[in-house]
Symmetry: C2
Subunit: 184 residues, 2 copies
């Protein structure tokens, strides 16, 4: 089965983590692969890394990265610390998808959480054809949860379940900063 | 802070659980209180019950319950095993909210997850004035996550963050049954 958590609201990664916990509780083996993130920077890593049958890998680097065109259009983002993607980011995403493929081929896990992969797809860090082929070929043998904003239409189409996490209200807009243990 | 996960889509309870895991990973103490549910029936309980600093209580009973009027309007639900609410359901929800109040007054936890409380509010199993008073009085001392469909407007208004989990696609509609480890 293929599950998608997308949209601009809070709760996509946490819903994937919560579903992963549910799967482990039912005796399944879970792999969470994070794109464009560093696993050690999220508080949940301290708990998840100690769980049996829940493995996490991440394929990102410190800081926030966006395509050059995006930064040229919105120069204020550079002042906020965003930097343009470089070859490193493409290589990391590539390694991430290769890692997933290897685990899927060897049938190592029952549930694969590909966190933020929709964002990586949107910015073309991940080749959509490679992902599409993998999902279609293995959807009967394992479950996949894909998260992130900007989920492409083809992924919604091939999914079995898709939820849009829609922002109704968000404290960052009121100028309240992100809170450790809740937001990261 | 007050967080709301509502809407008809999948991911509300799991997002609350994932946020709870994140909070525990940041050194916070979490209490999850489930309304209209039995904690032992969900697979995640097997994992969460073993975690330090994550406590769960539930105040529901086996089976699915709805108000009498709801069942009279939709008799097909009775065939699906739904039964009308009785005094037991009101008493259980009452006990649940009293339990939360006691913990909040004694400042036992940093984060309170009130799972399915929006549904309990909708069916008037929980007195909205008691909940409103508690949230407004203690929002500065602890964080609260409230989940469930049918979130009332006043709760969105007093919340700091609200996400609508909006169903885009759902396998149950295609006749695919709920899957252990993913759906419960």
């Amino acid at each position: 089965m293929i599950y998608v958590f997308t949209g601009n609201g809070k709760g996509k990664t946490t819903a994937a983590v919560g579903t992963g916990i549910r799967a482990v509780g039912a005796g399944l083996k879970v792999l969470m692969v994070q794109f464009m993130k560093i696993k050690e920077l999220s508080s949940e890593y301290n708990v998840l890394s100690k769980l049996e049958n829940f493995d996490i890998e991440s394929f990102g680097r410190k800081g926030f990265y966006l395509p050059k065109e995006e930064l040229e259009k919105r120069p204020e983002l550079e002042k906020k610390g965003f930097k343009p993607f470089s070859d490193i980011d493409f290589r990391l995403a590539q390694e991430g998808i290769e890692f997933v493929k290897n685990c899927v081929f060897r049938e190592k896990y029952d549930l694969y959480i590909l966190d933020e992969i929709c964002v990586a797809l949107h910015y073309r860090l991940v080749d959509e054809n490679i992902l599409k082929k993998l999902l279609i070929e293995y959807r009967g043998k394992a479950d996949f949860i894909l998260t992130g904003r900007y989920c492409p239409d083809w992924l919604i189409e091939i999914s079995d379940l898709a939820t849009e996490m829609k922002e109704i209200k968000h404290p960052f807009k009121k100028g309240i900063p992100a809170k450790k243990g809740i937001d990261y």
